[in-house]
Assembly symmetry: C2
Homo-oligomer: 125 residues x 2
């Protein structure tokens, strides 16, 4: 899903440099990518992603997250919904709790699309 999301295969993305800069983006491509970036373009949501990712087991429930913000629970819930609906967070309910998990591949695809593999050659991890 994440590959078809951006219509890019790993091979293509790493082939040269940033797809964004390599060739002119079509209107459709631009309108596919923009909402993803828009979902990311919020300080609260950036930190939510970051918090979820760095939490134990790579997942966190709303109760783990809400405390880190000076915002109400519905607001946090709203931001999580935005991230989930765009495909950046996975959701799973267990008992009374709802756990979120970062969809790393989706984020990686986005990063490659924007910044390309510029730094990638030699990176390793």
């Amino acid at each position: 899903m994440s590959k078809s999301l951006l219509e890019l295969t790993p091979v293509q993305t790493v082939a040269c440099c940033s797809p964004l800069l390599r060739e002119t983006l079509s209107i459709e491509q631009a309108e596919t990518v923009a909402p993803l970036l828009k979902a990311l373009a919020d300080p609260v949501r950036l930190r939510l992603l970051s918090l979820v990712a760095s939490h134990a087991e790579g997942e966190a429930c709303v109760c783990d997250l809400a405390g880190a913000f000076d915002l109400t629970q519905p607001t946090i819930s709203h931001h999580l919904k935005v991230l989930h609906e765009i495909g950046l967070l996975d959701r799973s309910k267990r008992g009374v709790w709802v756990y979120y998990r970062v969809r790393t591949e989706a984020l990686a695809d986005l990063g490659v699309l924007i910044g390309g593999g510029a730094r990638v050659a030699g990176a390793g991890r």
Copy 2:
């Protein structure tokens, strides 16, 4: 410059995986990065960046760009201003024309911050 822009050195960014996911983003970091992403999170601006980058000599004047959109010249000018003020486009005036050029490093830094080198290690899950 681009490094101070995100407060990350290349070494740090490549060290592991996406900085966004590697450790919890501070509030300040999140509020630094979010406006950059917000500037990118628009179909018109994404295509503008792409068009500028793929233009001859890597630069283009407003007159080269406006034709590609069904928008008025002031609107294009506005979007270019947004991209320039956030540090994603360079501006240089020559005679009557104003030329824009993509600040590739800034974009690369952003890409690394978001997607990191994750995909590089072997992809997928």
